[in-house]
Amino acid sequence: MFALVDGNNFYVSCERVFRPSLQGRPVVVLSNNDGCAIARSNEAKDLGIRMGHPWHEIRHLEDQAGLIGLSANFELYGDMSDRMMSLAAGLGPQQEIYSIDESFIGLEGVKGDLVARARAVRARILSWTGIPCGIGIGPTKTLAKLANHIAKTAERKPGSYPARFAQVCDLAITTSDELQALLQSTPVGEVWGVGGRIGAQLQALGIQTVWDLSRMEPQAVRQRWSVVLERTVQELRGVSCMSLDDVPPAKQQIACTRSFGSAVRDLALLVEAVSEFAVRASEKLRAQGSLAGEVLVFVRTSPFRKGPQYSRSHVQPLVRPTADSREIVKAALDGLKSIYRPGFDYAKAGVMLMEISSAAHEQGELFLDEVQGEGTSSSGEAQPRRDPQRLMAALDAVNQRWGKHTMRLGSNRLNAQAPRGWVMKQERRTPRYTTLWEEMPLVRA
């Protein structure tokens, strides 16, 4: 048995904890560079604002409807997520943190009334952190996710589902007639893993609801689509095909890319930005215990701006797979220098790490070192080679403890006192209330 605990409109809810005046008002949280809506309050959804809606298209609602647009405050969301997840863990013995606002809980061996237990956990998360959430329970992960959708929708749109499913919905204890009715009133596109393209194909074949999908012949689904969709059909029928991954699968590509706050022309500024991206990507690489074999770097101008256009990328192979920030930054900068052309207004750059392998299978580097002459001193005496893994671990530990950018490589001198053109535009960000001593909320006494 599985549960999915999911924070409602999570980023907006985090903002409202520290700005109670946002309660009841339409609020959106904007992506990097204040580009588009990535979280919406219910009031904003009711204004017709979509996920990903560009800010410049909805900005007029500030005056017309009192809409509030906030820059994403990821430090705050990360801390609130941490608080929420550790309380959600009280629901059952296993937890898989699926995203910043969702976690699956394995309920194996949990005795007693699961709905009552889920309601108690939900009430505690709301009271302790201020974050409302929905909890779905089901015999498979796909059904738990669907139950979560029902729990949230029943609360937000009264009448869409029976009211007793609001906030907490357990699909494992419904009668088969009830379950059929619930699946029949849910569009097929709400199923986990059914994307827009497959959803459209299914609808073209007359598969409109989740119920229709669950009645399809699994064999036929595998032949027509994929084993993944077949698994989804099985899971909708209550056959569990997916277990809790305590460790999420290692990513095969790690990217750090960003649009610049304002156009960047200067190579020196691009060097700084690309170094920063390479460092970030290397940190992610080390966090999942992997090595990269290739580094892709790209720069491009904005197709939405006037002026000459330019877009190039370059893949720089690494001598050997590594997670060492210094080698990855060097490869990224070598790539950057080979593709940089002066005279363009660069709007975006990025670094992508590819050919990712597990650090556990690292090749012996004894001979390579000798070939490169690193392992011997000028006198020819063997010198203990400095261990890059320990250096990188120390770098990560320092930056985790004392904040990003505390310790960094020479080429990325990000200076908080002197904002550069490429630093993310976050004009509307609220204070980092819970992670910075200087930015804690004020209370009138």
Partner: protein
């Protein structure tokens, strides 16, 4: 001969606590008699663990204003606010009034809720019928720093 008006320059750099490296006592090498406290396994008092009973529910806020001075809360103090504590009459709380955070003493008598100031120069807040009082959290401690 010593001259009184030409003192010898002192070469030793000034000793400052900042320039002395901090030794990790746990891992330093010890010789001689074993410490009689060794087997007790005592841990140094952990201030955060002592003051924060519910880490997921505890937030820091900075007080602005003097209305709680008789309760020991002064302008600039840092408050530990615990949302897991059930508010009772007499608790110092952070409440939300008209969308704003205020720190006052919660008073609940005969079904009437009041937010009392702890300074005769400030009025109590008696919510009107249209106002709702939401207790955001209970203030469990106040930190006043004298020197960094």
């Amino acid at each position: 001969m010593y001259s009184l008006d030409a003192p010898q320059p002192i070469d030793t750099p000034p000793l400052s606590a900042l320039t002395i490296p901090v030794l990790d006592l746990k891992s330093s090498v010890r010789a001689g008699f074993p410490s009689p406290a060794e087997d007790l396994g005592a841990k140094r008092i952990d201030l955060a663990a002592r003051l924060i009973k519910h880490p997921q529910a505890t937030f820091l806020m900075r007080a602005r204003g003097d209305s709680m001075k008789d309760a020991g809360i002064f302008d600039g103090d840092v408050l530990l606010v615990d949302r897991a504590v059930t508010p009772r009459s007499g608790h110092v709380v952070v409440a939300v009034i008209d969308g704003e955070f205020v720190c006052k003493t919660l008073s609940m008598r005969a079904g009437r809720v009041k937010l009392r100031a702890a300074n005769p120069g400030f009025p109590d807040i008696v919510p009107t019928d249209s106002q709702t009082v939401e207790v955001w959290g209970v203030v469990t401690a106040s930190i006043k720093q004298f020197a960094a």
